[in-house]
């Protein structure tokens, strides 16, 4: 099937499949709520591959999402999201990458009683310790007015690339005690196994507390049961004063307990759990909504280490003007100041998004400029420049959107890189 003829057939089949699904949607939709979102991207760029320099790479991507069944109300529904890619120039640029992936595909059943939610299939689980893609079952339900229980189990999608799926498993859960929005305390547990051996086993605590003067304290701690130590402590306080929103935070990571010591921990992280390093960060940000048009922000973050004697600090500020709908003009300047010279850079960005530009037959025009200056050259270059310009138009009552953008980059990795992209977004609702 790798002959030119085979590739042509595969490519044709790929396009026919997507078109067929989109065109057949109205028929299928006769009996139930259906929403389809198709994002088709065609990129053109030049890259060095293992066989040639400056080879033209023309990947065609299709990101397809389908939601079928009860959507606006609770009940039974099916949800799907996945992508596929075909290089129209047959370069070997993607030879080590998969040509597509199912990101989720699950049946969902939910009832208002006790906020019951049941999912079966490939899904992304978030909550407490969980931040994983699984092939399995998850359940969440209220236990009376003060408690919430969620449990999940199945096969970890992240481990299916090595030695197959035999012996792989993931399960965990979270029990939450809350009193309206005044406090919430969650206890969670997660265990992952790979090829029959325990890869990772953790306990988690997360909480949010309403303190006096409108201060909200929240955070989380994670205890690694395999290495017997706290891997992460992260706590933040948020409060508002007039039009100002403040956030301060403190976080601490013990590398030996945070970077999972299992054999599946990928490079470049697995080496970090040796050496006894611990990192403590603190800082904050403030956002001032001066008016409905103007928004200002400032952020700072300090980094310190137990073993490494150096430290670092990041400072940034931003300004945004908001116009009608999504129209915006903004800018941001930041600097990373590490003790070591090769840990210093200055970053600046300016952007605009002109929504429904008057007098032009376009839905939007957008632009982006980014410039970074490095204290120490990277591959002989001490700065990088990136520019992007895009425009789009919408059709069929805004269900179809066509976008064209061009990017230029000159940086330590690319002397002069030009990339163009054509995007077609199609949304079908019934």
């Amino acid at each position: 099937m790798n002959s030119p003829c085979g590739k042509l057939v595969r490519r044709f089949g790929f396009l026919c499949g997507v078109c067929g699904l989109l065109l057949s949607a109205p028929t299928v939709a006769g009996a139930m709520e259906v929403r389809l979102n198709s994002q088709t991207l065609l990129l053109f760029m030049q890259r060095n591959t293992s066989t040639s320099a400056d080879a033209s790479v023309i990947p065609l991507y299709e990101y397809l999402q389908a939601d079928i069944g009860a959507r606006s109300t609770r009940g039974l529904s099916f949800h799907f999201y996945g992508w596929a890619r075909e290089d129209l120039n047959d370069s070997d640029y993607y030879k080590d990458n998969p040509d597509g992936e199912l990101l989720y595909g699950y049946l969902n059943y939910s009832r208002p009683f006790n906020n019951l939610n049941l999912r079966l299939g490939r899904q992304y689980v978030i909550g407490g310790l969980a931040n994983n893609s699984i092939d399995g079952l998850s359940l969440q339900t209220d236990l009376g007015p003060d408690f919430v229980l969620s449990i999940y189990g199945g096969l970890p999608v992240a481990f299916d690339t090595t030695a197959g799926r035999s012996g792989d498993s993931i399960f965990g859960g979270r029990l939450v005690w809350h009193s309206d929005s005044l406090h919430e305390v969650g206890l969670s547990y997660q265990k992952t196994s790979n090829d029959g051996s325990t890869e990772d086993q953790r306990l988690g605590l997360d909480l949010t507390l309403a303190l006096p003067a409108g201060v909200n304290l929240s955070g989380r701690s994670t205890y690694n049961l395999e290495s017997d130590g706290f891997g992460e402590n992260f706590y933040e306080a948020r409060f508002a004063l007039s039009d100002f929103n403040f956030r301060t935070f403190f976080e601490n990571y013990t590398y030996a307990d945070y970077f999972a010591p299992g054999k599946q921990t990928p490079n470049p992280f697995y080496v970090l759990n040796r050496g006894g390093e611990a990192q403590t960060n603190f800082g904050g940000d403030v956002v001032w909504r001066m008016s409905s048009d103007w928004e200002f922000g400032a952020k700072t973050k300090f980094y310190t280490y137990d073993v490494n004697s150096s430290s670092a600090a990041y400072y940034s500020g931003l300004i945004t003007w908001h116009g009608q709908d999504l129209t915006q003009i903004g800018g941001e300047v930041g600097t990373m100041q590490g003790d070591a010279a090769d840990n210093k850079y200055i970053l600046s960005r300016a952007f605009f998004y002109w929504d429904r530009p008057a007098g032009l037959p376009l839905a939007f025009i957008s632009g982006d400029l980014l410039y970074a200056a490095y204290d120490q050259p990277i591959y002989g270059q001490d700065n990088s420049f990136f520019a992007s310009l895009g425009a789009g138009q919408r059709f069929l009552d805004d269900r179809l959107e066509l976008k064209l953008s061009g990017d230029y980059s000159s940086d330590p990795y690319f002397d002069s890189d030009l990339r163009t992209m054509l995007v077609a977004n199609y949304r079908f609702d019934y």
Binding site: N37, Y61, Y63, A70, Y81, E101, L103, N115, Y124, I126, G127, G128, D142, L143, G144, P145, V148, L149, P156, A158, D160, T161, D180, S181, L182, D206, T208, G214, N216, E236, A240, Y258, Q264, P266, V287, R289, K299, Y303, A312, T320, L326, Q328, M336, G338, N343, Y345, L347, R349, Y353, D368, A372, Y374, I378, S384, F386, S388, D407, D411, P412, Y413
Partner: protein, 157 residues
């Protein structure tokens, strides 16, 4: 039957019965499946406390205000109550960043959406050498598994 498994089984059964007893006792606040469409949120980043009280009701709405830095600081709020996110965002929206393999980084996949402060904007390949040295935990949260680390593999092995 050995004593320890028996005790464990009884404890598990007791816990299950306790949970069932709790669940039929009373209902808490039930989140709607979707944010009410009649409340037009507009297309800009929403500030929940423009309409809702900061706290005191069923949710701490102030935690979900989409400030200019919300993209960088939503982890705590989303990790506690992802159902609130799901009232407006499909899981595919989260998968733009949080996925085992999406191939295109968010700022490329949505290149012309310049108003969104997507991570890894522009030439992040160069900056990641510095950010990764200073704060490797920030990389690990998304790239710390074999599939999501495929983007690291060409250089880091």
């Amino acid at each position: 039957m050995p004593r320890r498994p028996l005790l464990f089984s009884l404890l598990l059964l007791f816990s299950f019965l306790l949970l069932v007893a709790c669940s039929v006792h009373d209902q808490g606040y039930s989140l709607p499946a979707q944010h009410p469409p009649e409340a037009d949120l507009g297309r800009n980043r929403p500030t929940c406390t423009d309409c809702h009280e900061e706290r005191g009701g069923p949710l701490a709405f102030a935690d979900f205000n989409h400030t200019a830095y919300f993209a960088e600081s939503h982890r705590n709020a989303a990790g506690r109550n992802v159902q609130v996110c799901n009232m407006c965002h499909q899981p595919s929206f989260c998968n733009t960043c949080h996925a085992t393999g999406i191939e295109l980084k968010p700022s490329v996949k949505n290149q012309s959406d310049t108003y969104s402060r997507t991570p890894h904007h522009g030439d992040y390949l160069s900056r990641h050498r510095i950010d990764g040295r200073i704060d490797p935990g920030s990389c690990f949260r998304c790239h710390g598994n074999p599939k999501a680390a495929r983007t690291c593999a060409p250089c880091h092995g």
